[in-house]
Symmetry: C2
Subunit: 474 residues, 2 copies
């Protein structure tokens, strides 16, 4: 699946658009001038522009050339003065989340609502084999209560891999958890008391909101840019104004925006944390799903005072079903370790041993190379389908990694209604209101393409588009 | 391992002692009169008395006969006016718990501190085989995020078994958790707000105390009788006096006392809960380890208003390593379900499927029959060893099920010091201060005999006794 020349040119142009070199409505270079510049044929440039047109990034205007589309990228949400309030989300909001993500595939065959990776790949076979062999020969130690901190061999493997994210961590500095959710939950519980203010980017992963509510905390939403992430300016203002107790961020391909925070911003965040003596809970779960080679740095890579609590798991990169995650609590090690103990004692041993073998044997690297290509392809495919089947004015995020798209519908379309109507057709999506304590995402939804099936799922996107059209006319 | 006649007679007498028919210091029937009464030979009665003497229940007085030993059973803790305070336990107390339970068997070969079942039995093989087969052929559904509530087949099996405990529950009324700890944690979080008062029996499972502290709750210890459990009178007084938000109890073979609450008391507790509109978190984890046939009823069996949240797991009856537990939240279903979602999403699917097969195939019943005999034997063996090797005045609980003994040392012996000294010899015990927010158990410890090994562990009990002797002389 090596990329064709025209695809590379299209992506270069898109990057320039996203970086602000070309603005909405601006004319792009002519076919001839770009062909000269890139040393390719005119037809190659034409193919590149046609691809960009199909994806909705550019518009062809009758014979005068190609222009940057007015809805090429999601509008940047301008920093606003953030409000601080006890969040109103409760059981009903939680019920929406559950309805959008917790389905039996037999009942809802098109599960675009949940960020599940592809679980059908043969590159997962070594993991199944390890699990099978380890279970058959399980000794009393692996059937018993394991060490609270987790299996040593796995901690070693994870510590080694964290170097790619710019983090120097010793195996004994990390604790294995039952998935990333448990890691975040323990971290948040460890550093807060009821009533404390938690700052996070908006829109954000809905479970963060539900944790904040369940723990009696206060939510402070900070606006985020769909390309570069949380507004540093807004965060700075908020930290000056409010006694923020902890920040929660997913800097790399986060949920739902999929943005990639520039390293420069990561450094600035560390400066802010240090200045105000605040810890950060960093969700690193999507970082290995960078569509380019390698992975971006974690914010923790720039952490000079050991105040970042990095949380992650193999749920997005490998499989969620084994529930193997980890937390690197930094200076909060003892508090987080105690929380892990209280919440569920140790995590299951056998899946940890199997995952350690998967990493040691090089199977993880092979699997990751495979899924990066696959997900990049699915991102493009699904974007094309949404462009094709959804009402004019629909805009889509441009994640450079991860498993999901954030889709802005024309303002008249209620995403909750779309979600309800879609479920009746066997299709799940995650409606915008799940991702915020405010009501500003009523016409947004998250679409997860990780397990998108090119045979059985394309018609479902068409159906979803039809439903959106229907709702736009109401 | 059918019981001999003399063993049965000894146990009948012990039961009468525990029920108060014979008091400490009282003369027991003569050999001849008891032989007549039981229609057995005098030598059989003599064997019964000798057995009781070895166990420390009776004392032979020169030729005048056998008397009930003054330390035959643990002293009943008289109901006192319970105090209510923010508990002082913190990281240091938690560290003690961790040091006493979280060990690598390579470093600490004699793990009497942790309530681990026997993990070496061949009756566990069908579980390993199921796990192995299921892992090898794992489909995308079992590798993905499963249903939040858990696997249907397992919920059906558990619901069916709950009938033995007197509970009529539908499969959809229970939620699978990652062990009993997660079940209790979710239940407690679901029904409390910071500052609320939680009532529990004393001594109690240490993790309850740590949860109370971590959640900012207030602890109210209610005295408990080592044979029948929590003092109903004291609980009644406490509920009249304090705005108790929730009670936490383990009525059957609980941790650490191992008492068995009479059904009459279970009913009385339900009456109190109904009267004061209070929920109960019932830990049912040891109930299947009744040394008699069958299992005792749960408090939930008498629950007329659906206010008991029953928590349990297979960690004591089968293996802890797979982390499969469950919660039956009654009227608090939605709140507990939300907590489970927040804490760790769903639990791993493959171990649930394997456990369902273990139950469906009758392997669970066979395993339970085996371990009941084994643990009853180990209880007696370890009691004999403690009698033999520990200082005069040491008293031991008489659990009729479960995995542990509660040992009272002569008052001068500091159990924490004993624990520290024992660890240096490769022996772990759980010192009394772990089990209370007060300081009244400084000369107690918990001894878990579930995985006691008759070959390698006997010398360790002797060593422990020597250490206790040494400390008694300080």
């Amino acid at each position: 699946m090596a990329k064709k020349r025209y695809q590379i040119i299209a992506e270069e142009l898109l990057l320039q658009i996203e970086q602000g070199r070309w603005h909405a409505g601006q004319k792009l270079p002519s076919l001839r001038s770009l062909a000269d510049q890139k040393q390719v044929s005119i037809s190659t440039v034409q193919q590149a522009y046609w691809l960009m047109e199909r994806r909705g990034w550019v518009e062809a205007k009758n014979k005068s050339g190609f222009y940057v589309s007015s809805d090429a990228v999601l509008e940047t949400q301008l920093p606003r003065k953030p409000g601080c309030k006890i969040i109103p989300c409760g059981l009903s909001q939680w019920r929406i989340s559950l309805n959008s993500t917790n389905h039996d595939p037999d009942e809802i065959p098109h599960l675009f609502g949940r960020a599940t990776p592809d679980l059908t790949l043969s590159s997962l076979n070594p993991l199944k084999k390890s699990l099978s062999r380890l279970a058959r020969s399980a000794n009393p130690i692996s059937l018993g209560y394991g060490a609270l901190q987790g299996v040593d061999s796995l901690r070693q493997q994870i510590a080694r891999r964290m170097i790619d994210g710019g983090c120097k961590v010793l195996p004994q500095e990390l604790i294995i958890t039952s998935g990333c959710q448990e890691a975040i939950c323990c971290a948040l519980q460890a550093v807060t008391q009821p009533g404390d203010i938690v700052a996070f980017d908006s829109p954000t992963y809905y479970a963060i909101i539900q944790m904040i509510e369940a723990m009696g905390l206060q939510a402070l939403e900070i606006p985020a840019d769909p390309t570069t992430g949380i507004s540093i300016g807004a965060l700075q203002l908020a930290m000056e104004k409010w006694p923020i107790k902890v920040c929660v961020l997913t800097p790399n391909f986060g949920n739902p925006l999929g943005y990639l925070m520039p390293d420069e911003d990561k450094k600035k965040i560390i400066d802010l944390l240090n200045l105000h003596d605040v810890p950060l809970i960093e969700d690193d779960i999507y970082s290995d799903l960078d569509f380019r080679p390698g992975r971006p740095k974690a914010i923790k890579a720039f952490d000079t005072e050991d105040r970042v609590i990095l949380c992650s798991s193999f749920s997005k990169s490998v499989v969620p079903g084994v529930r193997v995650g980890w937390v690197i609590p930094g200076r909060y090690f003892e508090q987080v370790e105690q929380q892990k103990y209280i919440v569920s004692l140790n995590s299951a041993t056998l899946p940890q041993l199997a995952m350690a073998e998967f990493l040691e044997g090089g199977h993880y690297d092979r699997h990751i190379r495979r899924v990066k290509q696959l997900y990049a392809h699915r991102r493009d495919l699904v974007k094309d389908l949404i462009r094709k089947y959804f009402p004019k004015g629909t805009r889509i995020s441009c994640p450079k990694g991860g498993l999901m798209l954030w889709v802005e519908l024309p303002q008249s379309i209620d995403a909750l209604k779309l979600s309800t109507a879609a479920l009746k057709q066997g299709i799940s999506i995650a409606p915008g209101p799940m991702f915020s304590v405010s009501d500003k995402y009523s016409h947004y939804f998250r679409f997860c393409y990780g397990s998108f099936d090119e045979i059985k799922d394309i018609a479902a996107v068409e159906k979803l588009g039809e439903l959106a059209y229907g709702l736009s006319k109401l």
